[in-house]
């Protein structure tokens, strides 16, 4: 059966109760904290479910090495990035639903950065996930990337699979990886300008024609009822 997260938010339960709930993950967190020291900035543990940690840029490579060799997290899952800046284009949706909820084009877009679990300070965050197959654990590692220096140490020397993921991150966000054997586009043609997954890169289809949302369906020839289309 699916695991329901507990109704108490994790920050409120005591450490002892947490430890009782999820021994392996707490131990994992403790070992990471002791190894990385100040490198481990923040963490978020959902008991019985998942673990997030945020590390500094300097300890990104060290975290990878320790996870791979020291903790047995040999399985490389994925690596990607998140752009926390809210999209200046809004949601490009003209649907009635959006208007009734007060989210139309004219309302102001809050440009402040709001980060997700395990916090964050910068606009770009690179996150990667590795698994420990034997014990069935996984950990998501996040790192902040400053806006003026969009680069990070590559994980390819530790996890060979990071090669392609870092290439995708590079072309989609413009984050370069030092030590990568051959950083070039993976999906897009080589002359492509821009980084599509950034929030300020517009989705051209929506710029051209905003999503109509709920529309009234045309009457069938000879039909009587008028149905309103459903966008859910």
């Amino acid at each position: 059966m699916s695991r329901l997260s507990s109704t108490d938010t994790p920050e409120e339960t005591t450490d002892a109760a947490e430890a009782a709930l999820d021994g392996p993950r707490n131990e994992l967190l403790a070992r990471l904290a002791s190894q990385l020291g100040d490198g481990l900035v923040e963490s978020h543990l959902v008991p019985g479910d998942d673990l997030w940690i945020r590390v500094t840029r300097e300890s990104w490579a060290e975290a990878a090495g320790y996870l791979n060799t020291g903790l047995g997290f040999q399985y490389f899952n994925f690596l990607s990035a998140i752009d926390w800046m809210p999209s200046p284009f809004g949601r490009d949706m003209d649907s009635q639903v959006d208007i009734t909820l007060g989210h139309d084009e004219s309302s102001e877009i809050d440009a402040s950065l709001e980060h997700g679990v395990a916090g964050g300070e910068t606009r770009f965050q690179v996150f990667a996930r590795v698994n420990d197959i034997v014990n069935g654990l996984g950990v998501t590692v996040k790192v902040d990337i400053p806006d003026d220096d969009l680069s990070l140490v590559s994980w390819t020397s530790v996890y060979a699979g990071a090669n392609w993921h870092e290439r995708e991150c590079w072309e989609m966000y413009g984050i370069s990886f030092d030590g990568h054997p051959g950083l070039r586009n993976i999906y897009l043609p080589s002359g492509f300008e821009g980084n599509p997954l950034r929030k300020d890169y517009p989705l051209l289809a929506r710029r051209l024609k905003p999503w109509p949302g709920i529309v009234d369906v045309e009457q069938m020839p000879g039909g009587d009822e008028e149905e309103s289309g459903d966008d859910s």
Binding site: S2, S87, V97, Y187, P189, P196, R206, S232
Partner: protein, 390 residues
Amino acid sequence: MTAISDRDQLSYIAAQAADARVNVELETEGMTLNIGPQHPATHGTLRIVAKLDGEQVIAADPVMGYMHRGYEKLTEVRTYPQVTTLINRIDWVGSFANEVPFILAAEKLMEVEAPPRAQWIRTILFEMSRIANISLFLGDMGLQVGAVTPAFFAFRDREHVLNQIEAVTGGRFHPNFDRIGGLKDDLPAGWITETKRAMKKIRSFCDEIEGLLQGNEIFEARTRGIGVIPADIGLGYGLSGANIRASGVDWDTRRDNPCGLVHDELDWKVWTHVDGDSFARFWVRLQEVRESTKMVDQLLDGLPGGPVMAKVPRIIKVPAGEAYVETENPLGVMGYYIVSKGDLVPYRVKIRSASFNNISITPWLLKGVYVPDIVTILGSLYFILGDIDR
């Protein structure tokens, strides 16, 4: 299930080395061959730029993106039900399985649990999409090595499963059936008996393929010892599904991390093989299809009653948070990392597709193999272009 003898393995490696030595001594120039993007062997528009020396590959570099549809950008402007429609098309052969991890991740964020009946039906459709997908592989593997007939049998027998999926969801390839909180609809009358009949047909199909391909000496000669992936290399690249199980790693997300599906209530077995070559991958998938048919039979017998949809608001706003759910899809492990800011649309969806990691090993794997083996290896890794390119 015999392991390839060390002697055969060594003699293959020695032959490759000897060829390479001859090529160096004769100072032959390499030839660059473009395999794809239009090619009968690659399942879709995958292009491999192979530098050949005679019939040996010196370097192989897959070039992807011919089918890149920008899903991760598209999900940022669609509501959650609309995203469900979109992600059906990632792995278009394993239809229903694409939706499951996304819906489960959204349900985790919303803290909603689907009713038991919905979970059981989800699992049934999940396993049936696995059967449909892997049956295609079984026939297609024969096609890659030159036997044209098994492919026809595969298509003929898959139809039974696709008909059943269509009877429930209305779509053979793109069911678009999963909803946050449950399913769109309940099962039609008579579906359970029909599906059991379909499962029997699939089992006889598996026996046919076993006799036709697996027992064939030529097939064994073409696939044994070809494309051996050691377990630690596979883990480093993030291989999943039958690819990693064929290298001896006993890891199945259905058993180790069931999340919203009911695999832990069934009696089933995870199949692994020690060799890690193309034959092992074929063998593991064949056993998995058989195992899936047995699972579907058990699921159909134990299907509980009740509603198929939990109480969710009509307009779904998923609370803020991040969640990652991965499931054992037909092609491997597929996961969705959803970042939500409490809005109608997800803020960021990272799609972890199985074939992307599976194919990332090809530059390493294809060094030194012969040209016919490229096709065998790609066929045995089994990817769907939509899964690589998203």
